[in-house]
Each structure stands twice: as C-alpha cells, then as structure tokens.
C-alpha cells in the first residue's frame, strides 16, 4: 500500500525536517499575480488621468479659464467649452426627471406589488432594455424617433406660444434632433441601472418594518411611504447619482440625436451639443489645438464622472454598511 499519495509518513520524533517546507513558489507567485491584476484597475485609472491631461495640456494653457466660456469657434481658434458642459447637464437633468420616477415605479412594482412568479419576465424586459447597444438607440433615434417627435414638438411649441415660462422652455426653435430628444433616449438607457440598483436597495428593508406598517392597517402605498422609502432613501440617492453619471457619459446615442449645435439656450426642443457627443463627432478630424481641446473636454468629462461615481458608490456603500450593522 505504498502510494505516492502517502505523504512521507509521520516521522518519529527527532527528524526535524519533515514538517518544515518553505512556502511553495507557485503559491507565492499566484498571490503576486492576483495582486497585480487587482492593481491594474488603479494603474489604468491613474494612467488615463495622466496621459489625457498631458495631451490636453496645450488647451488648458492656451485658454486657461476661458475653457469655461461659451465660445466654441474652431475657425477662429477659440475653444470655450461651456456649451458642451451646459448640454451635458441639461440632457442629464431631462433624463433623470423622466427616468427616476419610472425606475422607482418599476423597482417598487417588483419588490412590493408583483408576486415572485411574475417578477422574472419583468426583470427580463429590463435586461433586454439594457442590452440594446447605444448605437442602435442612436440609429433608431435619428431615423425614426426624432422625425416623429418633431411633429409633436412643433405642436407643443405652437401651443405654448406666448406663455411666459413654457415658451422659453418648449417654444421655438424646434428640431427633432435636440436636447429633449437626447434626454428622452438617455432616460431609456439609464432606466435599467437605476431600477436594478433601487431594487437592491429596497430589498434590504427588513420585512419586519413592512409588517409593522401593515399591522397598523396601512394600505400598500402608505406602507411604502412609511416604511420602505425612508429606509432606502440613501441608497436610492446613490442609485440616482449612478444614473446621472451614466447619463453624462453616454456618447453615441446622444451624438446622433442631439443636433450637433453648440449653443446655450433654454429652449429644450432646440438642437444642442454635449461633451461626449462633440468628442465623438469631431475628434476624428481634429488636430493641433482643436484636438487638444477635445481631449481636454474628455478630461473634464472624466473628472466629472469620477466625482459623481465616487459620491454615488460612497453613498450606496454607507447605506449598505448601515444596514449590515457593520
């Protein structure tokens, strides 16, 4: 019965070598490899920040603080990027205003209303929504959706003509490819992530809180308002911020339907531009200072989205940690 498997049998007292082996090289090497892969994330992020800033440095130094002016004039070598920052903000806000209530509604639908058996198909639909590539949204957006919306915009614009606030928001000029259209499509695209994260957050509300509300004779909506929402506020804020980050960074669909017009205007139905869209549309042919400017807009976008994501993840983490009681 002597097989190799029989590790050198327990040696009698006195032989000191049997139990001591140095840690096998493979074991150490594997640990180092795993650590290196983990560090890769940090390395890439730092490299992104450093290399793109370098490329954009000529823009920063040439324009200085004027990068924040609304003065995008490549012909005259002027590159104030305020219009794009404005466009990013506006489209993101439009997207959030539409997507957040809808996402919350679906999340609540899944956690509170719908019996488990029906929740699977609903989740599949949400996953389907998430899988549609950005460029397909853009293609459909510009060729089908935008022309259709244009009619609606025109009608609305004539309807609000003269009405004080509404006219400046929804009045002329009107174009199918506009801030608003981009906002709507962004709303479609960020709904899955806001929904799924809100769902996770809402699911951590202890059953005992729900039951407590019901036991007092609350209707379902009252229970949601009283027990679920207060508990999950923090996490939902985090989910919304994540949606915001996503909306700010979404490039291709916006590039196709936003209208490619660098203006700052309150008219939401007017064509506009935003940060990722201008990079996507113009970088290919840019060189010299204009390339540096576009790269610089990329740097700004990177910084903004990192900040928002750090905030968002931080809030979600803190919420989760408080729930765990850690």
């Amino acid at each position: 019965m002597s097989t190799v498997a029989r590790a050198d049998q327990a040696t009698p007292a006195g032989s000191a070598r049997a139990l001591s082996e140095r840690r096998p090289l493979g074991d150490r090497g594997f640990q180092v490899l795993a650590l290196a892969c983990g560090l890769l994330v940090l390395v890439i992020l730092v490299l992104i920040a450093v290399t793109t800033s370098q490329q954009a440095s000529s823009w920063f130094t040439t324009e200085g603080w004027k990068i924040f002016t609304n003065n995008w004039n490549p012909g005259a070598n002027q590159y104030g990027a305020l219009a794009f920052i404005y466009g990013t903000a506006i489209t993101a806000v439009i997207a959030l205003v539409m997507a957040v209530p809808v996402s919350l509604g679906i999340a609540l639908l899944l956690t509170e209303v719908v019996p488990y058996r029906w929740s699977r198909p609903i989740v599949y639909v949400i996953d389907l929504l998430a899988v549609v590539p950005s460029v397909v949204w853009g293609l459909w957006g510009i060729l089908v959706f935008a022309p259709w919306l244009q009619h609606i915009y025109t009608d609305i614009a004539s309807g609000v003509k003269g009405v004080p606030v509404l006219d400046s928001l929804f009045g002329q000029p009107v174009s199918g490819a506009s801030f608003f259209t981009a906002g709507i499509i962004l709303a479609f695209m960020i709904t899955p992530i806001v929904t799924s994260l809100s769902r996770e957050v809402i699911a951590t509300v202890p059953a005992i809180d729900r039951e407590g509300a019901y036991a007092l004779g609350a209707t379902r909506w009252e229970m949601i308002r009283g027990a679920v929402l207060p508990h999950s506020q923090g996490g939902i804020v985090g989910a919304v911020l994540l949606g915001l980050g996503r909306a700010m960074g979404e490039t291709i669909a916006v590039a196709l339907v936003i209208g490619s017009s660098p203006v700052i205007t309150s008219h939401l139905f007017a064509p506009g531009y935003n940060m990722p869209a201008v990079i996507a549309n113009q970088f290919g042919e840019a060189f010299g200072l204009s390339r540096a400017a576009l790269m610089g807009i990329g740097v700004l976008l990177f910084v903004f989205t990192i900040i928002i994501n750090v905030l968002a993840r931080g809030i979600v983490e803190r919420n989760a940690r408080r729930k765990r009681g850690a």
Partner: protein, 298 residues
C-alpha cells in the same frame, strides 16, 4: 368587539375607505404605467430594427464584402468585414480582460480580505464601471495609437479596459458565494492557498463567472465610442487583428446613421439587426449558463 346596540352590528372589514383606497390604487396604477412606459420604446426599437433590417439581411450581407460606399444602393457589398471585425476585436478583448478580471476578483476575495488596498481596489473598480467608454478610447488613442497606429488590437485594448471592472465585480460576487466549508475541506487535505483557489473555489464559482463574463462581452460588442479613434474605418475584411485599420458593426452603424442616403441607412439597419441579434444571443447564453450551473451546484 361586539358593540352593544339594539341590533348586533357586523364589523366593517372592507378595505380602507375613500381617499386612502383611491390613492393606493392610483399609485399602483402609476407603477404599472412606469413599466409600460418602458416596454413601449423597447418594443418600438426592436420592431423597427427587425422590420427594416430583415429585408437586407442575407448570407452575402453577413459575410460578403467589401463595405459599400455610402452612396451605393442597398444590396451592394456586405457587412462581412464588420462582422469579422466585431468578432475578432471583441474576442481579443475578452481573452485579455476576463482572465485578468477573474484574477483581480481572486485577489479581492481570497487574499485581500478587509485590508485597505482591497477595499480601495474594489471601490475604484466599481467607480471605473461608470467611466464613459469614450474616455477609454481617448486613453488608448493616446498611449497606443499615437505610437503604433490604428488596429484591431488598439480597439481590443479599449474594450478590454471597459470590460475589466465589470468582470471583476461579477466574478467577485460569485467568489463570495462559494461556501467557506469548501475551502476548509481543501485546506484540511493539505492544499496551498493557490491550489485551494484554483482547484476548488474557481470551479465552484465558474458558472456565475462565465455568465457574468458573457454579459460583459455583450456590452463590449455593442460599444462604438471606444473604437472610434482606435480602429479606423477599413472597408475590406482585415484578418489580422493586430495591425492595420479595421471596422466593426457598431462603427458601421454609426457611420451610416448620419447618412441621408437610403442605401446607407438600410445597411445601417441591417448591421443593427445583426448586432442586436449577437447581443441577445450572448445574453441568452449567459442565462442558460446560470440556470445550468445553479442546478449542478444545488
């Protein structure tokens, strides 16, 4: 409790009355409406893509080439180069990002534990999933394309950067689910930590890891922005993914979407249908893997 009156009264057990009930109903309706609000555009997009794309899809469209110029009518050329490009670039990105991502997750779960570095890496990995994909494209453009030119490889790097944090997060979640009892059983037999991880933990988590990776691949396959400045715009199929300009389905869709020519638009729809079909197949494959391995590992 019985109320002492002339006639015994039945307790009123019907629903909350009046405004409370109405409000509840309204809210529930709103929730259902939100879901419908989401189905409608999804349905429209899918319907349109299928309707407009189906007519142009054919074997020669999928495999033939070269890519027609924008003014050419539908039926000329094909999307073969783009299909090949998508497949080879995405495959290369997968081969790079998935192993690295799994190893990163192994570090986080098996070695990092609660130390500050693992916490930082995990946190920044999640943050990285929120970085716009065009930034990845600009990054690779800066460090690679400027020195080595356009190529499928550059595109693969950019997609790989995109996929890495996604694979890390999903693999990490799967590794966490592996019960500690399995690790202990392996340790007790005298395995080193590396052995325990490779021979017991990873096989136990493999279903979820594969499924998560497939979803990352689906995401990468559909991305346009990272490729914009990295692969160029070849019209002929480029079998060498490591050098020379290339093209991919998303890039073609983007290029065609802006065109006023019907032929170009048709080609765009065809490519879109192909791309969506590819993403769906990957998504379904991910679901199947999850289902099968859930059964296997009880």
């Amino acid at each position: 409790m019985a109320v002492v009156t002339a006639e015994p009264q039945q307790p009123d057990l019907r629903e909350a009355k009046g405004w409370r009930r109405t409000k509840n109903r309204i809210m529930t309706t709103l929730m259902v409406v939100s879901f419908i609000l989401v189905i409608i555009p999804l349905g429209f997009v899918l319907f349109t893509v299928i309707a407009k794309g189906a007519s142009i899809i054919s074997w020669s469209f999928l495999t033939g080439g070269p890519i027609a110029s924008t003014v050419a009518p539908a039926g000329v050329g094909g999307m073969g180069p783009a299909v090949l490009g998508t497949i080879e670039i995405t495959a290369l990105a997968t081969v790079m990002a998935v192993p690295l991502g799994i190893l990163g997750a192994v570090y986080l779960n098996e070695y990092g534990g609660k130390n500050w570095l693992a916490a930082l890496i995990g946190f920044m990995s999640d943050v990285m999933t929120g970085v716009p994909s065009i930034i990845m494209g600009l990054f690779i453009f800066t460090i690679w394309v400027l020195h080595f030119g356009l190529s499928g490889l550059a595109g693969a790097f950019a997609l790989g950067c995109l996929m890495l944090p996604i694979v890390i997060r999903s693999s990490y979640e799967m590794l966490r689910l592996v019960p500690n009892a399995l690790r202990e059983g392996s340790y007790a037999l005298g395995a080193t930590k590396a052995r325990v991880t490779v021979t017991v933990v990873l096989p136990a988590a493999i279903g979820g890891i594969v499924s998560g990776s497939l979803l990352a691949v689906a995401r990468a396959a559909g991305e346009t922005a990272p490729l914009l400045f990295c692969i160029g715009a070849a019209s002929e199929a480029n079998k060498n993914v490591f050098s020379g300009a290339n093209t991919a389905l998303p890039s073609q869709i983007f290029a065609n979407a802006n065109q006023p020519y019907v032929g170009a638009q048709d080609r765009g729809w065809g490519a879109a249908l192909t791309l969506i079909a590819l993403c769906f197949i990957l998504m379904i494959a991910a679901r199947l893997v999850t289902a099968r391995f859930a059964r296997y590992s009880r």
